[in-house]
């Protein structure tokens, strides 16, 4: 349970301590990649709780979503359309849905445990 949290803390401290910065023009790509990664993560947690978790789907989804989001943003920049907004919208909606499902599952589990 604590292992993933440790990973998160390790990742954040690694990023903060190395003080890596990316050029300003790539900032939007990174932010959208972060969003895509979060979306995949919560999707994975939900799948795990619903017992439909698949390793391949999760890992491929992670990298594919990030790539797709970045590609969409790239295309948007070159076409002059804010296409990244589409990605933000899609990921945002899915993020909320996933979190809502996770919450419901956890609530159900909790009440079941209480009834027992």
């Amino acid at each position: 349970m604590w292992l993933p949290l440790l990973g998160l803390i390790l990742g954040i401290s690694l990023g903060l301590l190395t003080e890596i910065q990316i050029p300003e023009i790539y900032e939007s790509y990174l932010s959208i990649a972060v969003l895509a990664a979060l979306d995949t993560l919560f999707g994975g947690i939900r799948a795990h709780l619903q017992h439909v978790y698949d390793d391949k789907v999760f890992v491929s989804g992670f990298f594919f979503n990030i790539g797709l989001a970045a590609a969409l943003a790239f295309l948007g920049v070159h076409l002059g359309i804010d296409l990244y907004l589409a990605a933000i919208f899609a990921f945002g909606v899915r993020l909320f849905q996933n979190i809502a499902v996770i919450r419901r599952i956890l609530l159900t589990k909790w009440s079941e445990r209480k009834n027992q």
Partner: protein, 240 residues
């Protein structure tokens, strides 16, 4: 099975954390490229050196005051205090100034006289611009049409008349007196004002700046109005 899932999540979270931290780094302190060339750096350096020397001279003056206090403490502390008050009054312009400086005459331009255009007063904006320009060249004391400029002197339009210290400035011609620390400074100021583009701004308003030669002795009248202390209060006697 479960362990591999946790390891996967850990790796993914590690990547997410790293990305978040990088994003945070980029947003919080964006890297600014130093695009100055050697000339710009040199100019900045000279500016800093100037500040340095100014600070040193200020320190010297303060050191002198401390020394004076030290000497006077046995004789008369009151005298030293009075001296300091006198010096402060001199610094902010409550005392008549006599020393090196130069005089600027603001006159109507020849064209406006030839064409018979009415002479209009100087606008507050233009006067403020001129005073900023003069202060930029390190003026010590300043007087516009007999009105001493101090730190709180207002320059504004009152019913269509430009006023300094709430007293209207005459239509051109009038004089502006500038006091400087040394005669060399006055010469420098003369050259800088001659080279400055402020004259062109006056020309647009049909006025002409006649910058007088630097003199070793000019007199600038003191500020003659009451000073309002908004924040400082007198301490009653016996308390400290």
């Amino acid at each position: 099975m479960k362990k591999t899932v946790y390891i996967r999540f850990t790796i993914i979270l590690l990547i997410i954390g790293f990305m978040l931290a990088v994003q945070y780094n980029t947003v919080q302190n964006p890297e600014t490229r130093d695009t100055r060339d050697i000339w710009a750096i040199r100019q900045e350096l000279s500016k800093e050196t100037e500040t340095h020397s100014e600070l040193l001279s200020e320190v010297y003056v303060l050191d002198q005051t401390i020394l004076k206090y030290g000497n006077m403490v046995n004789e008369s502390a009151e005298f030293a205090l009075k001296d300091t008050v006198e010096q402060l009054k001199k610094d902010i312009g409550l005392v008549e100034y006599t020393g090196p400086g130069l005089t600027i005459n603001v006159e109507p331009s020849l064209e406006s006289i030839a064409l018979g255009q009415p002479v209009e007063g100087i606008s507050p904006d233009l006067l403020i611009r001129l005073i900023n320009e003069i202060n930029r060249f390190k003026a010590k004391d300043l007087e516009v049409d007999g009105k001493r400029i101090i730190y709180s002197s207002p320059i504004r339009d009152v019913n269509g008349k430009t006023t300094v210290n709430n007293i209207p400035v005459r239509n051109a011609p009038f004089t502006i007196k500038i006091g400087t620390s040394t005669f060399e400074d006055a010469q420098k100021m003369y050259n800088q004002l001659e080279a400055s583009t402020i004259g062109d701004d006056f020309y647009i308003d049909n006025l002409k700046l006649m910058i007088g030669e630097p003199k070793r002795n000019i007199t600038i009248s003191p500020y003659d109005q009451a000073l309002n202390n908004e924040f400082l209060k007198e301490v009653p006697e016996g308390k400290s």
